[in-house]
């Protein structure tokens, strides 16, 4: 099976990169003193009380290579250290904060992709028209917006001026109590989904009200990017020979654009989705911080600010691994979408 062989091959190639990533992270830790580094190894508060023992146990004064080995061993065992900020082991902290960020991603990603593709195609189909220029201006301005500033302004207007219409944080205080009560079963810790599963309307609406602004903030910058890409991709596609053939066959212009041109134009956009993940990861840190939305991004910032290196590095490592995997998925997706890049050989 070609696909399976390809995946295995890519996963194997992944290992040196991941090793390199860990090496890099480890390199950064070396900027810190052994005492600070102790937090990288402990899993509960009590252990921290006895620092010399920790240093002894994990060989924090040993030569670099030995340290790296020890550290790597710990990491592979799932021990990423202790997070001061979260007051729990780093690995647990990641699981604790992940659902909130996932919720943002679930809402933001389809929005970004669909709106970006739609606007991009429209701009390309009406090239040089006011629509095209308008969307282009919007795209460039959107691309130039500082995310944190946009978030603040949105809060200022929709929370301040409009009297708490769209508030920050994940839930209002009452709803938070409902969600944490015994009657409410938390399946996924993603508030909107849990609300649906619990058939609880008020919680759902409340969660929605809190998530709108962060999602908009996250989306605007990235929509601009996708839109520009889609536009230029569509323009390139529309200039190709098969478009003339399609018209010569008697197809309606709508079919020519939507079926023939767009299918080809989507290909570069898909390959770029990997970068979208990175952009979202970045955006999430700022957005969650501004809106006090306690997801991974918020935790990462708190940790960086308070120099909680175990958390920061754990977060960076987590992100890197995820990113590498996402790229793999995107690459495979790409081969599915573009027949020219199939994994097997061809005929004749």
């Amino acid at each position: 099976m070609e696909l399976r062989a390809y995946i295995i091959r890519r996963l194997l190639l992944l290992i040196p990169v991941l090793l390199g990533v860990t090496l890099f992270i480890f390199g950064i830790t070396m900027f810190f003193s052994p005492i600070q580094r102790a937090t990288l190894y402990v899993t509960n508060l009590r252990q921290l009380a006895n620092l010399p023992a920790i240093i002894e146990q994990y060989g924090l004064d040993q030569p670099l290579v030995v340290q790296y080995g020890t550290w790597l061993g710990q990491v592979l065992r799932g021990n990423l250290g202790w997070s001061n900020v979260a007051n729990m082991p780093v690995s647990e902290a990641i699981w604790h904060f992940l659902p909130a960020t996932l919720e943002l991603a679930i809402f933001a990603t389809p929005l970004i992709i669909l709106i970006g593709i739609f606007l991009g195609s429209t701009a390309a189909a009406h090239k040089d028209s006011p629509v095209d220029h308008g969307t282009r201006v919007v795209a460039i301005v959107g691309w130039s917006l500082p995310t944190f500033w946009l978030g603040l302004i949105l809060l200022m207007v929709f929370y301040g001026y409009f009297r708490g219409f769209l508030p920050p944080s994940r839930l209002s205080i009452q709803m938070d109590m409902v969600v944490n009560s015994a009657e409410f079963i938390r399946y996924t810790h993603i508030n909107t989904i849990d609300a649906i599963l619990n058939l609880n309307g008020p919680v759902f609406l409340d969660a929605l009200r809190h998530i709108i602004l962060p999602v908009i903030t996250l989306s605007i910058v990235n929509v601009a990017f996708i839109m520009r890409l889609m536009r230029s991709s569509m323009l390139e596609s529309l200039g190709k020979g098969y478009i003339l053939t399609a018209r010569a066959k008697g197809l309606a212009e709508k079919v020519v654009v939507n079926k023939h041109a767009r299918r080809n134009a989507l290909i570069p956009v898909i390959t770029v989705s990997g970068y979208l993940f990175a952009a979202l990861a970045n955006g999430v840190v700022i957005t969650e911080t501004i809106f006090n939305y306690k997801g991974i991004g918020w935790w990462a910032w708190q940790s960086a600010f308070r120099l909680d290196i175990a958390s920061v590095l754990g977060f960076a490592l987590f992100n890197a691994v995820l990113f590498v995997l996402v790229n793999l998925v995107v690459d495979i997706l790409y081969t599915r979408v573009d027949p020219r890049v199939r994994l097997g050989g061809s005929v004749q």
């Binding site: 020979g241 010569a248 066959k249 008697g250 197809l251 023939h260 299918r263 027949p339 061809s346 004749q348």
Partner: protein
Amino acid sequence: MEDLVTIRDLAVRFYTYEGVVHAIDDLDLDIRQGETLGIVGETGSGKSMTALAILRLIPYPGKIESGSIVFSDRDAGDELDLLTLSEDKMRAIRGNQISMVFQEPGAALNPVFTIGDQISEVFLLHRRQELGYQAKQRVDSLLSDGNGLAAGLKRPFWRWQRRLYNKIAGESHPVEPRLLSRIPLFRRLLWRLRDEASLLTVDMLKDVEIPDPARVAVHYPHELSGGMKQRAVIAMALACSPKLLIADEPTTSLDVTIQAQMLELFRRIKVDKGASVLFITHNLGVASEVCDRVAVMYAGRLCEVASVEELFLHPLHPYTKALLEAVPMPGRELQTIPGALADALNPPPGCRFHPRCPSALPMCEQERAKLKEVSKDHMVACHLF
């Protein structure tokens, strides 16, 4: 028998950033029923534009300025001026009664769809009623032959399908199937049409001598060789048995050996399908192999039209003569035509060719010659005649 296509006074201009380009001027041309007419000329002579004008596919910033292109329509039984038709009616003709084959088959085919899909598309577009009828027949046979529990359960579904396809077969714009085709998921319910179209597609591929057509149909363009691709494109063009097939340099990008096969294919098409072919090329040799009559164009204007033997044996226009002279022959020095192609933005007054013409007369600079019949079926636009 009237001519299939009568072009009169065609003018095509391009409004570019630098100025107005006269791509075609004052073109009068007839394409007769069942003939293969060749248009010969250099790059920039306007031959491709003539083809695109017939199909009304002149790209921006070009415009068809004036003229008429009269086409005798098979279905309506009368004559239509293609330049005044509504876009809807024009689309019904494109790919159906008039179709086109392009120079680069690789570029002409969409890389993300299979060969079969791209050819079936033409059937699904122009032969929908026929396909609907066929589909209905198949469902009928299912209904009459089906036995047993499984068949019994599916019966209502089949009956509904039968109604569906009957509608497609009977009316030209049935509402129900059209609504269905808009909703992506439900589009699948019309899959029988696709199946019927695929059958026709495979037949078509067989016609153009593609080996193992069923297997080729499920392949993608990049998986085929150049010759195969071009055959597929020809299959796509011939799918609905057009009365006019326009071929724009179909063999130029192919190997010489494949070229020979391709020309053989064109000859066969002429015989089997009875279609007229407008064969555009810059290669005189190719033209001599396939065409019945040949028209020579220079800088957007027609110079000479004659039967292929007449043209090659008794060329009249100085440009035609120069072209024939320029064909490389062993043992002889290469003859060239001095000068360069006229500037399309500022064409010289009078005859476009006169700066390079060895027999130019003083009046050639002032006045253009009109196309005149000099001998039987042999027309020239030159003051020498």
